[in-house]
Symmetry: D3
Subunit: 72 residues, 6 copies
């Protein structure tokens, strides 16, 4: 029965990446909790980089400064 | 005081349907709980069909396969 | 497919009121949108009155002052 | 560690207002709670005026009637 | 930067299951999106079975009827 | 009209800190956006440290290791 919301910045996530998120997050959650996948919803919310901030700074400003959230 | 969020797929919901959702959900909730409607907010969030999945599959793919979420 | 969240203050809502919320909100939403009820989830989140505020004031303080959110 | 979501109607909020929201809300929350700003995220979700209602009425209809949510 | 919310019914999920959810969902999301895990938050919200419904019925009532959400 | 959700770990936040959050966040948001405070709701959701993670690790485990989210 879980509902999983994935909130992230709108920075070119592809349809295939979204499909992979839905499939793999659904698999992980339903396996750990032994839940019926048909009752398990995954919702992706994309947020403009002007509308997200951390460390007190807007992500779009961080990006202009060359600061990414990429894995190192 | 309730805040009600209705999260659904963006598939042609009309302005009139949204108005009906706001009116009728507000009515139901304020009647059951005896709450002041002016303190009761209803927020509708529309989600692209690429961004929602259940049963481990993306809704946009389900729609291409002719699978709907319509009432039977 | 809608997921509906109802967020309200924890002030003695009964099990029967919650059941009525689930049934009637599900009915209203699935009728207006013509959606399958089995894909429609309703989630009620109860919030302590110390943890909610409006007009810049904590609800628990408003209640001590005799101010309710009841329908007039 | 807080995550702060600010949900508001899409009515011309500027990039600079969003940046001010992110900075000032982050400051207030991290100061009161003594939390590391780098672990504190602020997310702004803009909602079309057709998709928000209170008092049982759609905000876009209220606006057409000249009713605003402006500070008095 | 993603924030992932997992909303589920409070039905005996153990601390170890929660830890596994956090680790595996974080892995899946950061791998697909190439994001820094230190900017990736996972939040689990447990909801009483009286407070969740689908198909228009309260989950606590479904459980009394022997209906589970277990994987088949 | 904004609704602000503040989601944080349940680690001894006092009633007075919550009241300060409600007052100051409401002030900041209504000042920047010129919104009526009476239409502005602030909701604080406290999450057990077993139910939150970042960097792929459960906060309760981080705390056992002496790792805090305190401001430095």
């Amino acid at each position: 029965m879980p509902v999983i919301n994935i909130e992230l910045t709108r920075e070119g996530v592809t349809r295939e990446q979204k499909r992979a998120l839905i499939q793999q997050v659904s698999d992980v959650v339903t396996n750990i909790l032994n839940k019926d996948p048909n009752l398990t919803h995954v919702v992706i919310r994309e947020i403009d980089t002007d509308n997200w901030g951390y460390g007190g700074e807007q992500v779009s400003v961080l990006r202009e400064q060359g600061i990414t959230a990429d894995k190192k």
